[in-house]
Amino acid sequence: MSAAALPRPTAPRWLTGLVILALIAQIGWHLHLPDPTPSLEPLPSPPSLAMLHLSSLGDPVAGALFWMLWLQGFDEQSGVTLVLRTMDYQRLATWLERILALDPDSSYPLLAAIRVYGFVPDPKRQRLMLDFVHRSFLALPSKRWEWLAFAALQARHRLKDAGLARFYLNDLEKNLDTGNLPFWVRGLHGRILLEQNELAGARKVMGGILVHEQASEPKKQAMVRWLERLEEQQQLLEHEK
């Protein structure tokens, strides 16, 4: 007998019925289960750096990225602002510090600290994030200066703490060659000094920009005029004293 002539094997009918019944029971079971409710889980303590290394199976770059995505997941529990406000920021800073130590070449934890966690509407928590960025900068200034500059910007505009911004910018200039800093960072420093009536300091910073920066002629002219006005103001102040 050829294979084509053989009757096609079929399952017993009761088995088909059983499959359908089991499927209905499974769907019915899930329909009766309560809907998942969002629960706010507190951020656990970060594991040690050695444990993070172990969990990354010898690939710290990928491991650090995975841990950052996991950490980001805590924001999405039920509304970003609510969770960030209730999050333990001291613990969060330690998490970010450990992940950064796992992959020191990455800037992802610093980006998250400035652009995500630093946007929390709570000055105390914002300061913790800026402090983390500052500490990270001091550990590796040449690679992380940009993030401290952003931290200074955030301190000035969001936190309205020009003193803190000035402290960060001073540290930037102390640890790096000022000529390598971009125009906007030195400009920010000059403006903060001006706001705080530190006219001599502002003149020094702006004069430095004029010397180092490859600015166009109209821009240079404007800066020269601005510096002259600054000098007049300073002389006036000294005269009043």
Partner: protein, 261 residues
């Protein structure tokens, strides 16, 4: 094959092994793995704050590395176990060939598969990172796959049963990738509490690390990000692969020659 010399038999058996693996839907499994990896990367890319191509490449590389390792380990373990149980090996050994030729032929066949898998993984990553970095990573992954394929074959020949052999091979792989971190933890705890038991653990781990391949240096995410001195990490990897393949081959042959079929 009665007039075939061992040097002719090894490539023949290797080719036969490769064809067998292709019949086992290796290409289909590879395509499925790459497809899932790409979907995963698109999903993860949506979660990333910086949306950088390199971050996506690191994640894809991590997935492809684990996926290809699992694929090769399963392929080799089940094919070797089948050889043992359906008497295919007995038939091959009945031919006028030294046992070593059969063993090496099988191993070379799996090596072809390993390079095929590493090549496909490299091609998947190619549009995302620099060419030199992808070549380094693919070579490094190929070396890792060679070691793990041979380890899976030797362990299956020794242990006999596929599920048991696969469990032991997985354990061996995880240990080889995490031994550096374990040594770090042991050194830390030994420094914090200098007790004889912590010292003993540290020395035991040190001893284990000497006989394991340092797989934590193979096909890492950092290799995909390299911009300078790209070929520098390759030489230790090639050295380690060469030595470990000789070690595993010698170990496997020793057991294979003693075995009663």
């Amino acid at each position: 094959m009665s007039h075939t010399s061992p040097m002719q038999a090894i490539p023949l058996i290797a080719l036969f092994t490769l064809r067998e693996a292709l019949r086992e839907r290796l290409i289909r499994a590879l395509v499925a793995m790459v497809g899932v990896g790409l979907l995963l990367v698109v999903f993860i890319g949506e979660l990333l704050l910086n949306d950088s191509l390199l971050s996506r490449a690191v994640m894809l590389g991590f997935f492809l590395r684990l996926g290809s390792l699992f694929l090769m380990m399963v392929l080799v373990t089940f094919a070797t176990a089948r050889d043992l149980h359906n008497r295919a090996l007995d038939l091959m050994l009945a031919l006028p060939l030294p046992r070593g030729a059969v063993f090496l032929g099988r191993a070379c066949g799996y090596f072809f598969c390993a390079w095929l898998v590493a090549g496909v993984c490299g091609l998947t990553l190619w549009p995302l990172v620099r060419t030199e970095a992808v070549v380094l990573w693919s070579l490094s992954l190929g070396c890792e796959l060679l070691i793990m394929s041979l380890a899976a074959m030797v362990l299956t020949l020794t242990l006999g049963q596929a599920p048991f052999a696969l469990t032991v091979t997985t354990g061996f792989y995880l240990l080889a990738r995490s031994i550096s971190a374990l040594l770090l933890i042991a050194a830390q705890s030994s420094a914090q509490s200098p007790h004889w038991s912590t010292h003993l653990t540290q020395y035991a781990l040190q001893g284990i690390s000497w006989v394991l391949p340092g797989l934590d240096r193979f096909a890492t995410g950092s290799q995909l990000l390299l911009e300078q001195n790209v070929w520098l990490p390759l030489w230790p990897i090639l050295g380690e692969t060469g030595i470990y393949l000789v070690f595993l081959t010698a170990l496997g042959l020793f057991d294979f020659y003693q075995r009663e079929f």
